[in-house]
């Protein structure tokens, strides 16, 4: 099983690489939304900073108090930061909800994702995945409850413990557990989406049940598959942040922009890697199913014709 899983792991990466056009398209939309959401802020910042000598506080270093001062000035570029970004992020969520069907169709069917096929699949699965989105929200509720519970427990431990460490260790452990639970939930719902696309399953609750059954029977291999990719994603993200924050010169704007965007590309690619791996796993799973013995008519009874009773 491990060997097969390893194959799936790398095949998933290969699939993402093979159809990397999907990654670049998603990234392009994400970037465009990002630019749109921050356009007005950037314009205002330009009008305040481009001809101001005080802007050097942000150029030759990053004086965070200058940012806070910017927040206080009339026509502050930061006045509009929050809601614009949130609006465009929500729009991106809708976009991803739409294109997920197309992406999975490409991965499940292992066919070149032409525009027509892609958008047909996207539209075909949109409302199904929207319903699944609502199911996900319901499933996340107990996890949110668990998070609230651990938060209360953390407060209780902190109040009672002389040392701050038990509370901190508990919080860190709880965070890891919750993160793992979230990965499992995502794994489950991703499998549901794969089933929905692969088998054209219309009933999402039925797809959820089937995915749950599959997950239960193959938990460790599937979870290990997802966990590895998640660890790679977070490690690369942390590495990118480290380079950006600690090793770039304050004036290196272009490099900073490229690194930040590379981090986003990698994040998108690793997420698709998970989806592609799962799609391949499901394909393999289906292919490996031993078909049930075909029906054959029962053999004719072996009997001798009975002689007619002698007539009385």
């Amino acid at each position: 099983m491990a060997a097969a899983n390893r194959g799936t792991f790398f095949s998933g990466a290969g699939l993402v690489w093979q159809w990397q056009r999907l990654v670049w398209w998603i990234f392009a939309v994400c970037l465009i939304f990002g630019l749109f959401s921050t356009h007005e802020m950037t314009e205002r910042a330009s009008s305040l900073l481009d001809h101001s000598a005080a802007a050097q506080r942000l150029v030759n270093g990053f004086d965070a108090s200058a940012i806070m001062m910017l927040q206080q000035v009339p026509d502050s570029p930061l006045e509009i930061q929050g809601h614009n970004i949130v609006h465009f992020s929500l729009l991106f969520v809708v976009f991803m909800l739409f294109v997920t069907g197309g992406i999975l169709a490409a991965y499940v069917l292992d066919e070149k994702p032409t525009s027509t096929a892609f958008f047909e699949a996207a539209g075909h699965h949109f409302w199904r995945f929207f319903r699944l989105f609502i199911y996900l929200a319901i499933v996340l509720l107990p996890i949110a409850g668990l998070a609230a519970f651990t938060s209360a427990m953390y407060t209780r431990i902190q109040e009672q413990s002389i040392s701050p460490y038990p509370g901190d260790y508990f919080a860190e452990t709880a965070a890891v557990v919750i993160l793992l639970l979230l990965i499992i939930v995502r794994l489950w719902f991703d499998m549901t989406q794969v089933i929905a696309v692969a088998d054209d399953e219309k009933k999402m609750h039925r797809a959820l049940r089937r995915a749950f059954g599959l997950l239960r029977r193959n938990f460790f291999s599937l979870f290990w598959l997802y966990l590895r990719v998640s660890v790679i994603a977070w490690a690369l993200f942390a590495f990118g942040l480290h380079i950006w924050m600690y090793h770039l010169k304050p004036q290196s704007n272009v490099t900073a922009f490229l690194i930040s965007q590379l981090m986003i590309v990698i994040w998108i690619a690793t997420r698709l890697w998970q989806r592609a791996s799962e799609a391949i796993w499901y394909r393999n799973y289906q292919a490996n199913q031993v078909p049930g013995p075909a029906w054959t008519p029962p053999p004719s009874p072996m009997y001798m014709p009975v002689a007619a009773e002698p007539q009385a």
Binding site: F33, H51, M69, Q72, I85, F129, A137, I162, P164
Partner: protein
């Protein structure tokens, strides 16, 4: 305390105190003698207290000997009972609900644990008998009859000038769960403002305010002899010298402390403290540094010690000697941060956390700030109720100076490779939160809200003094603070005493500045509204076209400066031209705007107000300059961060799909 030894060991007095008095004589020329106390000792407290660390209660008795130095007979005496502030209907809590307070505030998760109280069980006056029934709660600041933070007692007969009166008070405290500088958390007890404290006869009247959400304290100098009884496993720190320690047969121990020329006494106890001892030697000899560290905070111990030594050195060098022989530093445990960041004479409380990054200089700032209060509050004992800027504001200014000197001007608050915050920047952030509602000189409890109180009292005062450096010079202001300290230490000076000292030392009439900065709410904001160059013969288009690159082309340059705020302050405008020539204009700022005009064979390159960044009181430094050449790098940097944040949020939310 070293001064105790001075007065006990007469033979060593001259040698020991010589440097103190020689330095004092150099500045303020007080007629001190070696035998004379440093302060006018009005009060002498003898307190015996027993802590119940399980119930967090204190049973105590107090003998207060009050010497009537008011110059007139006194019959009525007001006393503070600060711990009664922690009652739901107190003035303190009413103000907290209205306008906030420091820290989390006791109302954020109010429960009975936040109740605190002090009850006087018995009050006797020597020669007058039991006067408990004569106690009367008063409300000098408001009409809140539910407030029980001040009471007064009227004696049967007045105390003659120069005579003394002895009060014997039996009382008990219930400490609140830690809030507003005092209280308990788990096995930690911070015992501050815990005993009946007599008011101050000041400006020919009793000054004894109720406890407010934003106010601190005011008291007379004197001596304290305090016996504290605690279980033997408790580690105790206190604002005095430990002169005796006795183990009792009931498993407790009694620690005897003595302190003099101070106006308050606080202490702390916890069995979980780790004690770190160090010392520093200054112009007056060695000072013991006694650090009590809470569990999990040892990572900050050396940081506390280092900044404490650096601060001692610079205060000693810049403002005057530290005359005590000890400083006790208390690091509150996790969950007890509301007891942190507080000053008492020779005892300060700090603040850190388990995972405090090296780049966040919070432990350093808190330590520096609270130690600074040993000067601006501890020795120069101003009225914190009425003129909080004299302790918090001046102290914030010296905090900037010390932190900048120790940790670098641009990195004195936050210092990471990717982001920095200066101390000046911190003060600006605080000030700009609410810059124009209240004047600095307002009574502390009369600010519109806690933000305004904090921003104005701490931030604005610091910025006012930093900006004043431009007017009189940094060295002159330092000398003025030195003079102010040496002249007014161990007294109760007023704001005018401070301002007049600055005028005297600088030799300048600064009323125009103080009237706006201290007594007014004007905001200082200058703007470089316009700067551009036009060909002088603009109508001569063909000639102009042919002279496009001609160095003989004459341009008319206009530079317009606008005073956007109501604060009038003289500014310098530096103008640079593209041939390398410059012009410097000095504008008195009286009018709302000023336009300068130049006819030169050069175009403008840049124009800038306050080119040396000497006016931190200016609320918007981004509009102080104009550069002809656009430099979009700052905006690009912000855009990179914002776009990344937007994309990252999108990715996180997209996880749901």
């Amino acid at each position: 305390m070293r001064l105790t030894k001075v007065f006990v060991l007469a033979a060593g007095v001259a040698i020991f105190c010589g440097p103190i008095f020689s330095q004092a004589a150099a500045i303020a020329a007080p007629a001190n003698t070696a035998a004379k106390p440093l302060s006018t000792r009005v009060v002498a407290y003898q307190i015996e207290a027993k802590l119940d660390p399980t119930k967090h209660t204190i049973a105590a008795s107090e003998t207060l000997t009050y010497k009537n130095l008011t110059g007139q007979p006194q019959q009525t005496f007001p006393f503070h009972l600060y711990l009664n502030a922690f009652q739901p209907q107190s003035t303190f809590m009413t103000e907290v609900r209205l306008a906030g307070t420091r820290g989390n505030g006791p109302d954020s998760d109010w429960d009975p644990k936040h109740f605190g109280s002090i009850t006087v069980d018995k009050l006797e006056v020597e020669g007058a008998g039991d006067l408990t029934n004569k106690m009367e709660f008063i409300h000098p600041d408001d009409k809140n009859t539910a407030d029980r933070t001040v009471f007064q007692i009227t004696l049967p007969k007045p105390i003659a000038p120069g005579a003394s009166v002895e009060f014997h008070i039996t009382f008990h405290d219930v400490l609140p769960k830690v809030v507003e500088r005092t209280g308990y958390v788990r096995d930690f007890d911070m015992v501050g403002q815990w005993f009946p404290k007599v008011g101050v006869w000041w400006k020919n009247a009793w000054n004894c305010h109720q406890f407010h959400a934003t106010t601190e304290f005011f008291a007379d100098f004197g001596t304290f002899d305090v016996k504290i009884t605690v279980p033997q496993n408790e580690i105790v720190g206190a604002g005095g010298d430990l002169v005796a320690s006795t183990n009792n047969s009931d498993g407790t121990k009694t620690l005897t402390y003595h302190s003099e020329d101070v106006h308050d006494f606080s202490w702390t106890a916890s069995p979980s403290f780790t004690v770190v001892e160090d010392s520093w030697t200054g112009s007056q000899g060695p000072v013991k540094i006694h650090l009590l560290i809470s569990p999990g905070h040892m990572g900050s111990a050396q940081r506390y010690i280092d900044v404490q030594k650096g601060t001692l050195r610079l205060f000693d060098q810049w403002y005057g000697p530290y005359p005590y022989d000890r400083i006790t530093m208390v690091d509150p445990p996790h969950g007890g941060i509301d007891a942190g960041g507080m000053e008492y004479p020779t005892l300060i409380t700090l603040g850190t956390s388990v995972h405090m990054p090296q780049g966040v200089l919070e432990p350093e700032i808190v330590t520096e700030h609270e130690f600074g209060h040993q000067y601006w509050y501890g020795m120069v004992a101003t009225n914190e109720f009425e003129e909080a800027w004299l302790d918090e504001g001046i102290n914030s200014y010296t905090e900037v100076k010390v932190m900048d000197a120790l940790y670098g001007k641009n990195t004195s608050a936050v210092n990471f490779p990717f982001a920095q915050i200066s101390e000046t920047g911190m003060q600006q952030i605080g000030y700009l939160a609410d810059p124009d509602k209240d004047p600095i000189c307002r009574f502390a409890w009369k600010f519109i809200n806690n933000d305004s109180y904090g921003g104005i009292t701490y931030g604005k005062t610091a910025l006012v003094l930093l900006t004043l450096e431009k007017v009189i010079g940094e060295d002159t202001l330092r000398q003025a603070l030195h003079t102010y300290f040496m002249r007014f230490r161990f007294t109760h000076p007023t704001g005018e005493d401070f301002l007049k000292t600055i005028e005297e030392v600088s030799g300048k009439d600064l009323r125009w500045y103080f009237n706006q900065a201290i007594y007014g709410t004007q905001v200082l904001d200058y703007s470089l509204a316009d700067a551009h160059s036009d060909p002088l013969k603009w109508w001569d288009a063909p000639a102009h076209a042919s002279k496009k690159d001609d160095k003989d082309e004459v341009y008319r340059t206009y530079v317009t400066v606008v005073r956007k705020g109501d604060f009038v302050f003289p500014v310098d405008v530096d103008i640079k031209f593209d041939d390398g020539s410059t012009a410097v204009e000095h504008w008195d700022g009286q009018d709302r705007w000023m336009r300068y005009q130049y006819d030169r064979k050069a175009k403008i390159q840049s124009a800038q107000i306050d080119v040396h960044d000497q006016i931190p009181l200016d609320r918007d430094s981004f509009n102080n300059s104009f550069t002809e050449e656009s430099d979009p790098r700052a905006a690009h940097k912000l855009r990179t961060i914002w776009v990344f944040a937007s994309e990252w949020l999108s990715q996180l939310l997209a996880w749901l799909t």
